[in-house]
Amino acid sequence: MQVWLPLALLLSLGVTHSLGQNDLGELPVPRGLTLQSNLPEQTLFLTWASDSSHFDVEIFHTELMNVVLNETVAVQANPSTGQHGWSWHSPLPLECTSHSVHIRARNQQTVSQWSPFQTIPGSDIPEKAGSQMFPQDKMVAVGSNMTFCCIVGENKDFDRILYKGQEMSATRLSRRTYAISVTNQPPSGNTSTNVVCSSQRGILTGAVVFVGYPPGDESLVCETRDLTSAECSWKKGRDTHLRKKLSRTNYTLNGRDCLEANEGKIFRCNWTVWDGNWTLVARNPLGTVQLTDSARLTDRVHLLAPVNVTAVDVKAWNATLQWSWSVAAYKKLDMICQLRLTGHEQFITHNYSSMGLSSVVLEGLWPDVDYTVSVCCGSLHSFWKWGDENGPYRIHTKMDRPDSPDIWIWMDGENTGHVLWKPLSVMESHGALDGYEVSHSTAEEDRWTTVSLPRDDFSYPITLNNSSNITIAVAARNPAGLSQLSTMTAPVYRADSQVSVSELLGTDGGFNLSWQPYANASRGYVVEWVPSGCSDLCPVHWEKVPESNSSIKVQSVSLEAGVRYTISVYVLSAGAPVLLQRWHGYTQEMIPSQSVGELSANQVGPDVLLSWKAIAMEQQRGFIRGYTIYLANATRLELIGNMSDPKVRLYRVRSLSLGSYKFIVKAYTSAGEDTGSTVAIKLEMDTDMLVVGIVVSLGAMFCCLILISIFCYKKREWVNKAFYPKIPGPKVSGDWSSPQGPLDVKPSPHSLVHIEETPEWEFRKKVLVPVPEEEESENENIEADTDEPTFLRYYNQVVGDSSHSNHISDSSGSSAASVGSTQTEITYTGLQSPTSSQGAYGGGGYKPQMQSAAGPAEPQLEFVPDFQEESLNMGYKPQCSRQFDSPDVGNISGSLGSPTSVTSSQFLLPESSEEKPQPSNTWFHNLLSGKS
């Protein structure tokens, strides 16, 4: 209990002390708060009196009491006045609305009471009823931020604020004031940036702001032109975008205004004396730039241009130029002058130096050439820069004798040729040419014959005598005189056939030539090229090569692609030029411009022979490497031949079938094929051969017939016996008209083979009788059970004397006994028609197989009814009258497929059937066996 009492006492003391510091009455309220505004600077200046040094300041927008600032500041009192002063820069123009300020003193956590409000009225008070915008005509740097406010007139509505045509977000500051904030402003346009405040009805008011840059000038340089004064210049910097007259950049040099520069036209400032140090100040409302330069006068001499430049002595190869100086001090200056000559497509500079230089001799000029000359000079020592240039001045040099022309003699025949010379250039003619003089002499003549030619002639024809060489001399003439003579002896003509000619292909539009050096080439070589095959007015070109060289690249605009040139190298020595080597070449091969000519196609049997003529050399445009032959189909070309030898111009297309063909022949160079020539041909049968074949065949046949006829005639007796044996008369025993009784023979319903034995024949015969197809169709059921062919069926039987009678008797009731026999030996001796097979056979003896020609109808008519009536009882049955639905069908079918033995020793030839074909083996067999 005693411990808690002191603790409680201490706590009570502490509480009592703290309550005393929070007592508001302890810090006095600041007194005499006054406000002063600087509207253009948007600054508010506060003054008050107080013993404290720390104060809380609060600033409000009066009307809506929005807090603009709440800040604690430390402000010491002015010792002389005892007043505290503090300024505040408002982001908003102070005119926009009224501002109210109050302050209180602070001592750490202790504060005084707030002072009474002090208010600075804005322009939105009722007394100012019109519309206004602030700030007006402000000038700011690019990228700065600004706040604009629009005070709407009384009884007017507010709609929007546009900055540079763009609507901005507006904030209401009071009953009539709206504000926008613009950040990072871009530079103004032609005049200024417009800020427009509008109502629904139109523009209320507005303001402009000038947004630009501070000066950006740089590189101040001072120099002297007269060796006394200074002329300073600099580079203008970036556009400040400040167009108003009063906001343009102002320049001062060493403290003096630069009037010329301030007018904005030039950026130069003159100084009457050479100070050695200069300071240029460039200033505009947004900033200032200071540039300095320092130099000695002799280091910055920039001479003026010389005056009165004249050419006092102009010759063919040089000229003297004089001038004077407008500044007397230059005469004592060591200077260097540069003369720049332009003439005859050349630009030449010459430098001359001396003290006060005012005259030079121009060397290296060419006669009769127009030159323009300009002169500029500089200080020789401590050269700064070339001075101003004068001119240009014109100089025309005088003429001189021309150079000797470059000549060559081109021989186009054994005794004819042309003297050629190249036109002289301006550099060679030394003046306008009047013409040429051509002289010639031979070894026999000890004199020169001279001919004058106009200046447009560059050739002269010559004719050689066989006896001697001719020497030519050519000279050019101009008003200044005659050139030295160019002489040459005519070379010996060599045709291509007389020399070895090589092929040559160019590169890069020219020819690379090289040859074996020639020991006697004392005057070098001449390379001549001319289009091959050219005659008369040929473009002959040549190039002379020193004797030390044995190669050259012929590169000339005269060379054309696709043109064949004959290039010759001649050796020049004391005598006539000697041909050393020759080529035919193309600078660039092209495809032939023309196709092969006279293409023809000829049929040779099944082959086609194509032939054509070569392309003319002018149209070849390259070395012809061969020909390709195409067969043109409907849609494409089929390559059928490639002839790599261009000399061969024949091609045989082999083994073609009959029809129409179209062939295309194309010549090709290394550049490709030409468009091709086309020929069409229609392959037809060879009518001559056909006729010959037919005639030969007919002839052979005719011969055979003759031979056969002769043979038959010679062997007519044998033929008669072989084919027409004597037929004995019939022996009729008994009643022929009535059957002798039933025959025990059942011939096959298909066909019957009647084999009769002919006594005269010693060998056995087999006779086959084809079965008519009509019968076969009626016996389809039967055919299904046989292995024999359906259209022809034979009943084979071995013919024998001993089996004849047995066979007849056995076959009547047991034909099945022969079914399946495979031992039958068959000899085909003849075929008997079904009609003839209808002939019935009675008992033994000869019986005609057919009705006689005398009365075949009656017996047959009589026979058929009898047969039909007695068919069930009679052994003999006519083949044509079989009835398949008869009870005997079963028996017939039982004998199908088995040969039926019929004895026959006689040909079954009808008497009236001589036209019937006879088996050849019979008479042939007899022939071979020697029977007649």
Binding site: S131, D137, N194, V195, G202, T205
Partner: protein, 188 residues
């Protein structure tokens, strides 16, 4: 045809009417150029009264009096234009030499010529309007709300509108004047 042309050429007011038409075309072009420079004026229609009003001149009864009326108005317009040019030169200098700058000088010169030529037409005392008081550049600009460059732009715009209005009036009036004079000569 030639006779008609000669007669037409000798009728008073013909050249003045042609000059008025030319002026109207020039002033229209001048306003276009100014709108190109100050695009915010493209659709602006100024409020308030005209800058040039001739309250002292009674309502014209005759065509000749109407000619005198428009002559007085254009004389005032010329003064306004001279004031405008002076102000712009003071502000921007003479360095700007675009089409607008050259055309405004042309219009000023032609306005002077127009005032002179119409004055010759009215030498017989048909101009019933009293002479206008001397014009001061400061006058008129107070009518534009606000101050500074923006107000000057609005004022320039209004001056150019006045020029177009009064040159158009001059065209119509002089055409009527010319037609009447031509009719009178044909009657004679």
């Amino acid at each position: 045809m030639d006779r008609t042309a000669e007669l037409d050429a000798s009728v008073p007011g013909r050249s003045a009417a042609a000059l008025a038409r030319l002026l109207h075309r020039d002033c229209t072009r001048l306003l276009e150029l100014y709108k190109e420079r100050e695009s915010f004026l493209s659709h602006h229609v100024p409020e308030g009264e005209r800058l040039v009003t001739l309250a002292l001149c009674p309502e014209a009864l005759t065509t000749a009096e109407q000619v005198g009326h428009v002559r007085s108005a254009l004389r005032r317009c010329k003064e306004l234009l001279e004031c405008l040019i002076t102000r712009e030169v003071e502000e921007m200098g003479k360095e700007l030499e675009g089409e607008y700058e050259s055309l405004r000088m042309t219009v000023k010169d032609r306005l002077g010529h127009f005032v002179h030529s119409t004055g010759a037409l009215l030498e017989n005392g048909e101009d019933g309007c009293p002479p206008s008081p001397n014009f001061e550049c400061a006058e008129g600009q107070d009518e534009v709300e606000g101050s500074g460059s923006f107000a000057a732009k609005l004022w320039t715009y209004r001056v150019l509108l006045e020029l177009i209005h009064w040159t158009d009036s001059a065209c119509q009036t002089l055409h009527l004047f010319h037609t009447e004079k031509q009719g009178q000569q044909q009657l004679l």
